[in-house]
Symmetry: C2
Subunit: 140 residues, 2 copies
Amino acid sequence: MKIGLLAAKTGLSIQTIRFYERKSLLAAPERTASNYRSYSEDALKQLLFIKQCRALDMTIEEIKLVLETRANPENSCENVNTTIDKHVDDIEHRIAELKVLQETLISIRSACDHDKKVKECGVLHQLDSFAEVCSSSTEN
Amino acid sequence: MKIGLLAAKTGLSIQTIRFYERKSLLAAPERTASNYRSYSEDALKQLLFIKQCRALDMTIEEIKLVLETRANPENSCENVNTTIDKHVDDIEHRIAELKVLQETLISIRSACDHDKKVKECGVLHQLDSFAEVCSSSTEN
DNA sequence: TGTAAACTCTATACTTGGTATAGAGTCAAG
DNA sequence: CTTGACTCTATACCAAGTATAGAGTTTACA
């Protein structure tokens, strides 16, 4: 099958498929006489696997590692599990960071309830205050 | 003050300061006879303000908007508040997405408790299953 | 058979928020 | 007077794609 059909079947864009090939996530396929890429069913399955991994927010390097491991059925799957575990950890950290951020933003936002002028805006004053504190502390 | 001192005072790198200038977040400063950038205290305050906004994960475009609004004390602060509100919303969405992701990953991870071989690894089978489902459904 | 639309090819530039480098010029201390 | 620290511009790089130009190919329809 040609790249357009593969793109339609996977829901990925043509450029993304070529991008994955460049990144060695997907083996370079056969070419027709006119130099068009010609894909097998295996390529389709591989792409769907990759898409699933990307949906789990794994990086291309992580996916590459998983694919390499998967390629040999006798391999230990240890580093696949390690990759997933690390990934779970990363996301946990990110969620924690975003929660702190969220609270900070909500607290700042509460400083200006109504539509005021810039000079009276509590939000802007809050954003400023950090700058002032740091500025004076560096003047020592 | 020269850029190295400004970098030390703000905790930003020299390249980042020049980058903000290129992005018009920071006005181009005076230059010395030898073409070195020469910054005022106001530039320091502005940079700390920007740093605070970046710590809140605001984009450069968002910060630019806030800075422009802030520049005129008689302006309404409405769009500053709108920016913060939108930002809170964005983060909320992102947290929700990450939570779903986290659950999916943990569920997948639970499919392989011990260090097995690739062919027996429940994690890999889970990652595969999505591909198989999609693959067969596109064969209709 | 002609031709126009739809498809594919490569190569390149753009995005965000910086970071890192090369190669050149400048300044201060010993 | 030279060495080291500083600064300058310009350029390339990162992730994970997206978008474009300009050329060649295939398919459909008249």
